[in-house]
């Protein structure tokens, strides 16, 4: 099928779906996508690509949509954050555009050379946009493209990278994994590939990758909240989780008890316009929280370009998911520059809101940045804080540290800090949100807290002091050998608040080797003995825990490695096999 015919067909399908009566089976998804489009279209200042697409889809204020699109095309700026949404708005609105617009988009590709970026999301967006442009104008010579490469060269290059990325994600794991701020930057381009790629194999891979990433998201999803450790998150979204951009994706595909009014939707518009539908098994996985579960995952560190022995060391994740809370973590260390979020307890509040507790060691260094960025080492910190202003601050709330490691077992986490004496900031900070309904410092050394229907107990290993801040109480503990045990429970697991505290006080914590070996031992309420020695020696009931054996996914609902993922729920199994590649379904008993 010719490119234009395919585009028109896809657009018509998308419009038909949008205008179709809401049926009982699909009502919730259709309602949600319509609501997202309404939200984006109604933005007063909405002259951006997303607003143009939303207005077009809703057949609302079309002259304004066209003039806004024209104005945007007149001033290309923003690299992949420009060309990806430009292609999305162009292709989803293809049949609405007049010849002048078609020529204008073409002209952008002829004259505008974006920086293709240096992160995984940048490259997926850039190569998706480039591939779709190259197939839209398939036979143009090199001088018709700003980068001086012909349509075929651009297509081949983009396709090769995308295939490489599919393979990497499904064998080594994602580098920018589980990011509330960047999930949409992967899902949106995949939706574009799913709808518009001419090559059927590429469309299938895009669909499989959408399933894969959304299943990965679903396992950490708690009524709108993206829980656990994150490769990248901005301070603002960590402290106000209702604003993170992934909420739009979660709301659209899984639903949530509250519309994410405060979230940034941006690229989510293309997901709402797409004909892609998330399989029911993944949606159930995201929303069925009747039974708690514990899952492990393996991801990879972003490309280490210097000061490392390995390009992409593994990242080990753990997540305990319950009805009203989640406790999730990565194993710690420097896994991403600047924005790593190592662990948290996320708890649900009323009306679909949530909040989280976490701790960190505020670390920064030119060496850390130089591991990931190629600029001269000596100016990296200065450069980074021009935009990531909190990076070097002692009060920051995001970022990894080489002196931080975690050991999570079920709903218990031990976090150890072994700070170097010459590190700029020699303390651990613990974030206790003001949304906690209870926060009691107990004479036993435990801190007891309640958030929503979640009971939480925290046992710092060293004393500290409290400081009230805008959104939280900061517990700062200034000791080189430090850490804490944190446990979380459903409130109804205990007969009362008092019973909870009594039970926790009765658990055993051995700190005798903290100073000498940076080692602690804790016996949980369930009787499991966790022993943890910094940095990476973990024992469970006397047996070594070897994280290196962790597959990409390991849990009751997701199991996968080597390009294959099994998504299981309710007697149904969806199998994504990138080695073939194919999608298979299995029912229980088959």
């Amino acid at each position: 099928m010719q490119t234009r015919q395919r585009i028109i067909l896809r657009v018509l399908i998308a419009l038909f779906l949008l205008s179709a009566p809401i049926t009982a089976r699909s009502s919730s998804f259709e309602e949600r996508r319509r609501r997202i489009l309404e939200q984006i279209a109604s933005q007063e200042a909405g002259g951006g690509f997303a607003a143009v697409s939303a207005r077009l889809a809703l057949r609302r204020d079309l002259p304004r949509a066209r003039s806004n699109f024209w104005a945007l095309l007149n001033a290309p700026s923003g690299d992949m954050f420009f060309v990806l949404p430009m292609m999305g708005t162009y292709l989803y609105g293809y049949h609405d555009w007049d010849d002048a617009i078609h020529r204008k988009v073409r002209h952008v590709w002829k004259t505008y050379l974006p920086y293709r970026g240096d992160t995984e999301n940048h490259w997926v967006m850039w190569h998706t946009a480039l591939l779709l442009a190259a197939q839209t104008w398939p036979d143009l010579p090199a001088n018709e493209w700003a980068n001086g490469r012909s349509s075929q060269e651009n297509y081949r290059d983009a396709r090769e990278y995308l295939d490489f990325w599919f393979q990497t994600v499904t064998t080594l794991g994602q580098g920018e994994f589980d990011s509330p701020d960047y999930l949409d930057k992967f899902i949106a381009p995949l939706c574009l590939l799913y709808d518009f790629a001419e090559d059927s194999l590429l469309r299938r891979k895009a669909e499989m990758a959408l399933h894969w990433l959304l299943a990965d998201y679903a396992i950490d999803y708690l009524d709108g909240a993206y829980t656990g450790g994150h490769s990248r998150i901005y301070d603002a979204h960590l402290l106000d989780p209702m604003r993170d951009p992934a909420r739009g994706i979660g709301y659209l595909y899984f639903g949530a008890s509250q519309f994410p009014q405060e979230a940034w939707f941006g690229l989510t518009v293309y997901c709402a316009l797409s004909s892609y539908r998330v399989p029911a098994v993944i949606q159930r996985l995201a929303t069925d929280r009747r039974r708690p579960f514990f899952a492990r995952e393996r991801k990879r560190v972003r490309n280490i370009i210097r000061f490392g022995r390995e390009r992409n060391p593994p990242v080990y994740k753990a997540n305990y998911m319950s009805m009203h809370f989640s406790l999730g973590s990565v194993d710690g260390g420097l896994q991403q520059p600047i924005q790593l979020h190592t662990w948290d307890v996320t708890y649900l509040l009323d009306e679909g809101r949530c909040d989280n507790l976490f701790s960190l060691h505020p670390y920064f260094s030119a060496r850390e940045l130089a591991m990931f960025f190629p600029e001269p080492v000596k100016i990296l910190v200065q450069d980074i804080i021009k935009s990531k202003t909190t990076y070097s601050q002692e009060d920051k709330w995001t970022g990894g540290s080489p002196y931080e490691r975690t050991y999570q077992h079920q709903n218990t986490i031990i976090v150890l800090y072994a700070l170097a004496p010459n590190t700029p900031y020699r303390h651990m900070d613990y974030y206790f949100p003001k949304t906690l309904s209870r926060r009691e410092v107990d004479s036993s050394g435990w801190i007891f807290a309640q958030g929503g229907k979640t009971f939480i107990a925290v046992r710092p290993f060293q004393p500290g002091h409290w400081r009230e801040e805008k959104t939280a109480f900061r517990f700062r503990s200034p000791h080189l050998k430090n850490g804490h045990v944190t446990v979380a429970f459903e409130a109804d697991a205990f007969s009362s608040w008092k019973a909870f505290k009594t039970a926790i006080r009765g658990t055993h914590l051995d700190l005798s080797a903290l100073e000498s070996r940076t080692e602690v031992r804790y016996i949980t309420l369930d009787g499991d003995t966790l022993r943890f020695r910094f940095p990476d020696q973990r024992w469970l009931n006397g047996r070594t825990v070897d994280l290196s054996e962790t597959p990409l996914f390991d849990g009751p609902y997701l199991q996968g490695d080597g390009g294959v993922l099994r998504i299981m729920h309710g007697g149904e199994t969806l199998i994504l096999d990138f080695n073939k590649p194919e999608i298979r379904y299995e029912k229980a008993g088959e």
Partner: protein
């Protein structure tokens, strides 16, 4: 890379130069024609970023900038936002050959900037260093965050030589089979055109630059990160630290020999400004007047007047000295990270 930079002035067709500067996007603060001055030379700057850089935002222009050498009248040419780390200009090759090393890969113009082509695909990225060979201009070496590569066809295809982060790249100007690559833990030397590499002795620091004596190829100097300047007298096989005072422990991004007086060397340093040696690198003095606390990243000397020295800085633009480095004055691009400077004759 300084080795081939100061060559006799070629005679250009004015039309060719009009074509160069008739393309691209000018930075807003530049007014007037580029050559409305008496300068007979043009200064080229590879600008990595300008004041503030965030991927995906409307950043101030970066990339290739040009100005006359008399007064700063900078214009942003070619493409404005490509993260340029290095450049090589071979005016006499093709119809004016320009190679640039960028975040996006290698860009090549074979007609002095009239048309550009990104010759690298997705596998080659973050290109940091570049050396082109004037005697065989189709051959270009690059150092990237992911290794060193060589192309023998104007950048169209590449062969990997090393697979680690490249800080420095130098090709022996008397024996092109001798390739020097500076990495985070030392200097690596190939004597067989890149098939094999051996670690140079006595130099285990991050090597940021290598410079070779223009007349005695046995003599080389290397600038390091935090370990000062090293010298080799055996074509790079073994190295010893040189200098005293502020040089040990210095971070040195570029070293050049004055072509007419190669016993005089200049070095661009992070914390000591410009360092100058007038005794074959045995001792070095700071030339910091006007450069207090400004990190200097690159350095070049006017081909006709060695008293005119231009330096690029990290976040402070370009400076010029007209008295051999004793005093320095800003020369525009304030706020820019300038990674490389080249001077070539302007059209008459």
């Amino acid at each position: 890379m300084i080795q081939n930079r100061l060559r006799p002035a070629p005679r250009f067709l004015p039309l060719v130069w009009l074509l160069i500067f008739g393309f691209g996007q000018a930075i807003p603060w530049v007014k007037g024609p580029l050559f409305a001055q008496t300068s007979s030379y043009v200064l080229f700057a590879a600008v990595l970023s300008n004041k503030r850089y965030v991927v995906g935002q409307a950043n101030p222009g970066s990339g290739l900038f040009v100005s006359g050498t008399q007064t700063p009248q900078w214009q942003n040419r070619a493409f404005p936002n490509i993260r340029m780390f290095d450049l090589e200009i071979l005016p006499e090759a093709e119809n004016g050959l320009i190679y640039t090393a960028n975040g996006n890969g290698v860009m090549v113009s074979r007609d002095f900037g009239k048309r550009w082509r990104v010759t690298t695909g997705w596998r080659i990225t973050e290109v940091l260093k570049m050396v082109a060979l004037p005697e065989s201009p189709e051959t270009v070496y690059i150092g990237t965050a992911y290794g060193a590569f060589r192309s023998n066809d104007f950048g169209e295809t590449w062969r990997m030589l090393r697979s680690r982060f490249v800080y420095a790249l130098h090709i022996d100007h008397t024996d092109r089979n001798r390739i020097f690559i500076g990495e985070e833990d030392g200097l690596f030397l190939s004597r067989d055109g890149g098939k094999t590499f051996d670690r140079a002795k006595g130099l285990n620091a991050p090597v940021l630059t290598v410079a070779q004596h223009p007349r005695d190829p046995r003599v080389l100097f290397a600038g390091t990160e935090d370990y000062g300047i090293f010298r080799s007298d055996d074509r790079g096989l073994s190295w010893k630290p040189v200098g005293s005072g502020s040089v040990p422990g210095a971070t040195v991004y570029e070293i050049i020999f004055l072509p007419r007086h190669p016993s005089t060397l200049l070095a661009a340093s992070f914390a000591q400004g410009v360092l100058i040696s007038k005794n074959d690198g045995q001792s070095w003095q700071k030339c910091q007047s006007g450069l207090q606390k400004i990190p200097v990243s690159c350095i070049t000397v006017h081909p006709e007047n060695p008293e005119w020295i231009f330096i690029g800085t990290l976040n402070h633009g370009v400076f010029r000295s007209t008295d051999g480095g004793r005093t320095w004055q800003p020369f525009g691009l304030s706020g820019a990270q300038v990674m490389e400077l080249e001077i070539h004759p302007a059209p008459r």
